[in-house]
Symmetry: C2
Subunit: 347 residues, 2 copies
């Protein structure tokens, strides 16, 4: 894949990552000094200590994810953006305002510097959009054939929103389940690249930062929101099954309410994939009190990344710990948790 | 290598890691439920949200490292202990008291469960020794041949010690440089396994948590300590060169003062390795005011992991940004930063 650099790469005196870039010595320093520290520049990172010093008030949320997606460039993003958005969103799902990230690379010997640079640009752009900064990091290199181009770990810290009361124990019978946007898009976008599938228009990953939407909702609705979760790998089915299991309540979904892009739906049908099991990156679910559900959905639809927000189901007393979906004919089926791996290395 | 399980492994209904264990679905949950959550059990991890909720007061230190060491089991430890100790120590080097860790695995398909379990036991033991807990985590699986058994990221958080004033800008001409223990041990321990070298007694990695020693020193000497750093990969030379560069001062070392185990020294000579460039895991340097240096060294020698603490050099006005070592004959040579990679994947 030809990389289009959206930000010019500075002059490095090497074209590929070598083992020496992981030595902690001169080459590591050259890699970091020649642009890497520049592009991610901020007061805390500039200290270049073994760790960063931070001042956080009150309760914090702390979340980590390693990203091993393949391919590392895909329609709608790259592994760098995904790594920032993924952790920003996990922190946001705790009802917190993401502030700081750590960033750790495992590079495979031979990774072209142009690709590494483009990923760094993606990281920088995603950080700017989310309003977070990278304050500390690490770079390791593994021998060719012992990794796969690049793996990224990001770990995030945020301040819990003063109005947030996100706790799975707050979920009550009758609560509504809202999904924020069209589902299954990320999974199909990645699969289409892997399989060389073509659609009328390119299906792009929905990777995006959800924190601003989450903060807006907490500002306005606070304690009416009982849980946020982002159904990434494992899809909606895994997330909802975990919630049903942990709350020992039942979950009922309405098939006809699930928002899904027409092309994504067709792709799922052709490929034999169930959209409920297909990965999302820019979607969250909110479990909210029934009284406020309509207001919350209406508010969400004002946000660019929640245009298709919909109430898709509710928490019920029946069939505890199970997720059941009903179709328009009145038919019902149990949606169990995904057993194996539908689409490996999707994030 | 035959694994000796120091803690019995529960019954898993699979013997090897498969791609499905990274799906986020049923198999991921089975892996986590069957003992993993048990062994690392604590109130915060038990919440099983996308992130952990923490309450930290005042200033914090935040540090990340990914561990890609090969082999993953070695004399004196395994990649799990190393991953905990490495990040605990980085947080401690900031003058902070490590409290919480995130833990993220990238597993290669086919990793035997016995090996994964032994690594988890190593993680648990190291956490207990350091007094930290794992509060959030992530597990990814990559296809066979796209990773190398296991890579681990840990990211740590700690509270900055009330008496700490660790800042590279506090370093003054005349400050003494103390090394806490014998150098080059970790590098030689790993190399001896890789090369099948045999010594009279096994050379074991010095991996250990340094936080208790650091806290004791801060309790007693506070502001007299200007900098802590742990010279891991890249060895003493890289760390001291970074300090010389960043402070624009000179550093003078005395060759005869460098504490080194006799067998490690012989191994370095035979293998043509310079101990100044060889990796450490359980060693730190402290740059301290000259008035308190002897008191600090004496105190350090009371700690189990600082028995060989020694003043090895000082900060000077001459040759700014350079590290120079003098031998007993009065000869001098410049110790430059390591250029390539002496021992790849040492941590």
């Amino acid at each position: 894949m030809k990389i289009q650099l959206s930000c010019p790469m500075p002059k490095f005196d090497f074209d590929f990552i070598t083992m020496g870039h992981g030595s902690g010595g001169l080459l590591t320093n050259k890699l970091l000094d020649s642009g890497v520290f520049d592009i991610l520049k901020n007061e805390k990172l500039d200290k270049r200590h073994d760790g960063a010093f931070l001042e956080i008030k009150g309760e914090m949320a702390f979340s980590t994810d390693s990203f091993v997606i393949s391919p590392i460039f895909f329609p709608g993003g790259n592994i760098g953006e995904l790594a920032v958005n993924g952790t920003v969103n996990d922190v946001a799902m705790c009802g917190a305002i993401p502030k700081y990230l750590s960033l750790s690379f495992i590079l495979e010997e031979g990774l072209p510097m142009t690709e590494f640079w483009e990923i760094l640009v993606g990281i920088k752009d995603a950080c700017d959009k989310a309003g977070v900064i990278v304050v500390t990091g690490d770079t390791k290199v593994v021998d060719k054939g012992k990794g796969d181009k690049i793996f990224i770990n990001t770990t995030g810290l945020g301040e819990v929103h003063s109005k947030a009361d996100i706790d799975i124990n707050n979920i009550k019978i009758g609560d509504k389940i809202i999904v924020s946007n069209q589902i299954a898009t990320h999974g199909i976008a990645i699969l289409s690249v892997r399989q060389g599938l073509e659609f009328e228009t390119t299906i792009e990953s929905d990777t995006t930062n959800l924190n601003h939407s989450i903060i807006n909702l907490l500002d306005e609705f606070g304690g009416a929101i009982h849980l946020f979760r982002d159904p990434t790998r494992g899809g909606l089915s895994s997330t909802l099954n975990e919630i049903a299991r942990d709350t020992k309540t039942g979950i009922v979904l309405q098939d006809s309410k699930l928002p899904i892009n027409t092309q994504v739906k067709s792709a799922c049908e052709i490929l034999g994939l169930d959209p409920l099991y297909t990965a999302n990156e820019g979607v969250f679910i909110a479990i909210v009190s029934s009284e406020k559900a309509s207001l919350i959905v209406n508010k969400m639809r004002e946000f660019d990344n929640c245009k298709h927000a919909t109430i898709i189901g509710e928490i019920v007393e029946e069939h505890p710990s199970k997720v059941v979906i009903t179709n328009t004919m009145g038919g019902k089926r149990v949606v169990s948790m995904q057993i194996g791996e539908q689409l490996p290395r999707i994030c």
